[in-house]
Amino acid sequence: MPDKFPESSEFHTLRIIPPAGLHYSTDLLRKMCDIWEKHGSGLIALHGQSGDIMLQGCSSENVQKAFDELNEIGFDLGGAGPALRTSMNCVGHARCEQSCYDEVRTHRTVINGFLDEMHRPALPYKFKFKFSGCPNDCVNAIHRADFAVIGTWRDDIQVDQQEVQNYVAKVGRKYMIDVVITHCPTRALSLNDDDTLEIDNKSCVRCMHCINVMTKALSPGKDRGAMVLIGGKRSLKVGDFLGSVIVPFMKLETDEDFEKLKDFCETVIDFFAENALEHERIGETIDRIGLANFLEGIGVEVDPNMVNHPRTSSYARMDDWDQEVEKWRARKAEAASASEAAE
């Protein structure tokens, strides 16, 4: 083959990590182009589906030279093979009012904390993180990431009733009802006679729809943070998985919060490294061993937010039922006394 197609006998790709959130100055882009002109084919994909800058078409001899020069101006090598992969975060805090946590800091804290797993591949298979600032999930974390961090909030949606009235005046009551009120998946919205909005926040699942439609009148609550969903992947080999809820909510504000997230990521990566079969994604591991065993392995307590509904099959051994009930009660009591102390 190399004799027939000498031009493509060596045509390697360099996966390079872009600045978090894909922000560039023209100066940085031009420097990158100059290096690639000198050492590579000139073809660049901005960006690959995992989030890399893909520099396509390099001879074996030039790979190191290209990397060294890119590395000197601040770029580092991305992930390939059975390793931690390059990640992505949405535009988030940089230009979006719906963002619920600092995506750049979270992305950099997590990925830069585990570069060894990226640059020296030793995991059973690939492991992808993705960071979306709200449930609109603009970087497709729930499908595309083994470990999805998606922003959400715990308190009430913020409402500017004057702006709600302005909106209804502009679009009309019928449109407001057809497009906002009845599209609420949990019937948590009601339009008052004076065209203000009533929200049953306890029933709200934070889907974002009403906030997406009425960007000026509504915004996520103030008690913001993120949730973690684990196990998303495409078909190979047992079928498609969406990530499922593992941590329903965590704050991401203080240094301590970030340290906690990093520790949790380490626990999950270690569990994956030790327990996954070769070429098995973590979603498949969870599917194979059951979520309850996975939770025990990573030290996370069960939560009804993790399931669509409780089991329907009676084929399970439950002789430690009473002990499990005791654990639940103890956790509830602990949470109650903690919130009392906080008050």
Partner: protein
């Protein structure tokens, strides 16, 4: 070893800090945005709590770019957008400006240079796609070629916001589906078991790894013509192509047998309904470069049935969920076959176990 011959030590800097490259207004108002609206398709306007405003112009790129194109984008950013730009996950370029007066000239310049302005709101945004023939070692079809053919047709829906809601299209050049889930996904569907070159398997492939890769355990070790090789139980084989990447002598591609399939109703967002996977609508389309006209025809048929019939803010999958699959196949005049019925793990969950039917 002398210092001169020491290899350079890489700086393991990881993910780059974006703040030195970010537009100054985005940096200043990081985490402080209040609301946004859209002035026209392709133009976003964000307002911060402190009163700062920023305008963003979004333009389509071909993702797969050459130096000339990237430098041209840089020239536009230098002349019209304060020297900064960013990219979206769907490979659209975004230019930020600090006054509304800059928007018009920027839009005009982008359009003059051939970059369509749009991709916001209820438009058909840029197709997210894979590497294809350009640079994947296992593609069944091209990626950028299919995208170019489709976007030539759908360009008008990129530059306006006239769909019921946003439309996310993806293409994938093999069944691994790197393009991901979409409102409409165009993916390779192999139709024949791999053709094995037994002379090469023993030397090229790590046989146990290949056997382990098969999702239906159809591959087993075999001696063929005195050489260690592999054989495939063709009745079991689901033609997924998973054995081909670790074992290229198991050729899954064929000029006639590699087909394209169109899937609909995938959605990442949690808005209204929960995220969903796309579902099969049409398979057996010919892999017909350079323009794949049969694919474009099916995609536009589905897209315009959606445009005509869906309610405002309904995504493709939500629209079908409301009207039901019988009506979907009726409106699109596409056939429903036994191949639409899932038989993989969890297939029973996809059956209609109720008396709810549509007539």
């Amino acid at each position: 070893m002398s210092e001169a011959t020491q290899p350079r030590r890489p700086i393991e800097s990881g993910v780059m800090d974006p703040f030195p490259y970010m537009h100054p207004l985005l940096k200043k108002n990081y985490g402080q945005w209040k609301w946004h609206d859209r002035l026209r398709p392709g133009v976003l306007h964000h307002v911060a709590h402190g009163g700062d405003e920023v305008w963003t112009v979004r333009a389509g790129t071909q993702r797969q770019m050459d130096l000339h194109t990237i430098r041209k984008l840089c020239d536009i950013a230098d002349q019209h957008a304060e020297g900064h730009m960013r990219f979206t996950t769907r490979s659209n370029a975004e230019f930020m400006v600090s006054t509304e007066a800059q928007v018009g000239p920027l839009v005009e310049k982008l359009q003059d240079e051939g970059f369509p302005v749009g991709g916001t709101g209820a438009s058909v945004s840029m197709i997210s796609h894979t590497q294809g023939w350009l640079h994947c070692d296992i593609p069944g079809t091209d990626a950028s070629g299919v995208v170019k053919s489709l976007m030539d047709e759908l360009h008008k829906e990129f530059i306006q916001e006239k769909m019921p809601n946003r439309v996310r299209i993806t293409t994938s050049c093999c069944q691994i589906n790197c393009g991901g889930q979409g409102d409409i996904a165009i993916n390779v569907q192999y139709t024949k078991p791999p053709k094995i070159n037994h002379d090469l398997v023993g030397n090229v492939c790590e046989r146990p790894a290949v056997i382990a890769r098969c999702p239906v355990a159809a591959i087993r070790p075999a001696m063929v013509n005195g050489k260690p090789s592999l054989e495939v139980d063709e009745k079991k084989c689901v033609c997924c192509g998973a054995c081909y990447p670790p074992c290229p002598p198991m050729q899954i591609n064929g000029p006639e047998s590699t087909k394209l399939a169109v899937w609909v109703g995938g959605k990442h967002s949690n808005a209204r309904s929960k995220p969903t996977f796309h579902k099969l609508v049409v398979a057996g389309l010919p892999n017909n470069p350079p323009r794949w006209p049969e694919v474009t025809e099916v995609v536009t048929t589905i897209l315009y049935a959606y445009k005509k019939n869906a309610r405002h803010w309904e995504r493709m999958g939500e629209w079908i969920e409301r009207i039901g699959w019988p009506r979907f196949f009726e409106l699109t005049e596409l056939p429903f076959t036994k191949h639409h019925i899932d038989d993989w793990r969890g297939a029973r969950k996809t059956l209609n176990t109720s008396t709810h039917v549509y007539f």
